[in-house]
């Protein structure tokens, strides 16, 4: 492989590796942030479940519906729905103005017991067009579970920004790659050009052309030193030849 290709490809490999590392680390950091956001959201949902437990225990679905609609109004950008299930597994109240989607109606009633305080389920591309993180928490009256509150947090709201940042990071990496190729080409040109000129001159000397004029290399590096050495060698050889 020619030197210029070696230099360019090395450069590209380094840049691509850096870009991949950058995307992976960004995804990891943002993914962790999504988990943190879900956890925070679950805490908010748990607070709401404490607020509505009495209406659930009293089976006052009207009062419950009013609170759920007020909550949804305050969180229109982030929440797709609130749905409350009673222990029989029936929908007790919700924030839909259309029939409750089957995907939600079919949720199994879960007795949380002493397990995790909340459950998160991603619903994506459902037939009803749902794209949410469903967070469910128990509704408790004292230690007795009297219902389950499901909140659909819009995926767009939760991961929309993260996806945008990852896409931006990838785009930035691609642009960086193109820039790397350009810089590598320019560098290669400056490094390889004097070597090529020197190679041509040395080939002519090898063919017996001892009067060849060596290239005027002013790179102030090893190549310039090599050029000077060859020049001295040729001068010395020509002097010996004249003497002989």
């Amino acid at each position: 492989m020619k030197l210029k290709y070696k230099i360019v490809s090395s450069f590209i490999v380094v840049i691509v590796l850096m870009a991949i590392a950058s995307v992976i680390s960004t995804s990891y950091v943002l993914g962790k942030r999504t988990d943190d956001d879900i956890q925070k959201k679950a805490a908010t949902v748990a607070t709401l479940s404490e607020k509505i437990y009495k209406s659930v225990a009293d089976k006052d679905s009207n009062a419950l519906t009013l609170v759920l609609f007020d909550e949804k109004k305050a969180r229109l950008d982030e929440v797709e729905y609130y749905v409350v299930f009673n222990p029989e597994g029936n929908v007790m109240a919700h924030t839909y103005v259309t029939p409750v989607p089957k995907t939600l109606k079919d949720f199994e009633y879960r007795d949380f017991g002493t397990s995790a305080p909340y459950e998160v389920k991603q619903i994506k591309n459902s037939s009803e067009g749902l794209d949410v993180y469903d967070i469910s928490v128990p509704i408790k009256e004292g230690i007795k579970q009297v219902g389950v509150l499901h909140v659909g947090v819009k995926s767009d709201y939760l991961v929309g920004l993260q996806n945008k940042l990852i896409n931006l990071s990838m785009l930035f990496s691609v642009l960086l790659g193109f820039l790397a190729i350009l810089i590598a080409s320019l560098l290669t040109h400056f490094i390889v050009k004097p070597i090529k000129e020197l190679t041509v001159a040395v080939n002519r000397i090898t063919n017996g052309e001892f009067d060849v004029v060596l290239p005027d290399i002013k790179t102030k590096d090893e190549i310039q030193e090599l050029n000077s050495s060859i020049e001295m060698l040729v001068t010395g050889y020509n002097m010996l030849r004249k003497k002989g």
């Binding site: 009062a63 519906t65 009013l66 609609f69 109004k73 103005v97 259309t98």
Partner: protein, 409 residues
Amino acid sequence: MTSKTTKIIIATVAVLIVGVGAFLMLGNKQKVEKVAVPGVTDTEILVGSSAALSKPANGTDSSFLGTQTIHGSQAYINDINEKGGINGRKIKLISYDDQYDPAQTVGNTQKLITQDGVFTLFDYVGTPTSVKAIDLVNSAKVPLLGLFTGAEALRSPFQPYIFNVRDSYYNETEDAVAYFVDKLGFKKIAVMYQQDAFGETVLAGTQIALKKRGMEPVAIDSFIRGTLNVEKALDTIKDSEAEAVIMVGTYSPLAKFVKISNDAGFKPYFHTVSFVGSEAYAKELTQTWKVDPSQYNKIIVTQVVPSPSSEEFATVKEYQTLIKKYYPQDTFNYTALEGFVNAKVLVKALELAGKDLTRESFITALESMQNVDIGIGKMVNFSSTQHGGLRGIFFSKLSPEGNFTIFNQ
């Protein structure tokens, strides 16, 4: 058979197949669209109401307002249905009881939209109740026509799916303040209001009207909705020596306030807005609280419809005939007349929308109503940016016979 003839036959058959197919597809599409309009069939139009129809176990009774609004509307709807309906469709009104409780209004509204699948919502009663329906109405894009409230929250900001037939509380208070200040020359106006969205909107309207005249209320106090606890408010307002008190609330606490004011030697003019339910208010004043008849002419209610006993207007006479027919036990009242007027606007809009009825065509029909004579001496005007139908206030005062009668201020 020549090949030319064969080609002609094949081409004709192909054209026929495509034509019949297109016809069938179009037919099916029209059929699907027809079925897709919620609450509308070939024979029926379903409309839904939420109003106070009964007294809650704890709290004051507002059921007169709801039942009478519905009676007024139902009387006209019955008449239209008996005459064959609109384009062959009869109107069916589903009315749910909310006991003037916002939570029940929300539950009823959701049920009407999602379970009953009504074409339009109609005849909602009360401010705190109706404002809670705004978000549902907007989300579901279901029109809501005819609200027994003049609250500003249902008018501003503009609500694209809400159509108010009656005039606003702001206009009622503006005209009341104009009467007291500009006409009678009063300098001291006080406000006693119910602590909720209804009370606050009338308080705001009064303050705006007074501010226009370089004034402000000399005293303001309130009471809790659903209670008769108005004594504290009297203590505050009495000391202000107000010449008129603008009161906001339902009939029971307001009648009590008038009575205990008079008993305490405080005898200003008492005004309230149309929502009070004049007949029930008059009954409370004269029979329950036995207010001194010498003070009757200082008890004023602004109305958004003319006197229900009037012989002057065609619609009022029609109302009287139909109420006698369908609700013979009822006496004529402002609330039922307002419900009757709401139904007239509903029917007019359904007629204008035509046979291919959709919610969009119904809204367009309502918004096209300009200077429509509804038979009460005021014209109905809607537009795509203005959903307040009637403009015009009538003044009534308690007569020696114990009824609120219209007077020219």
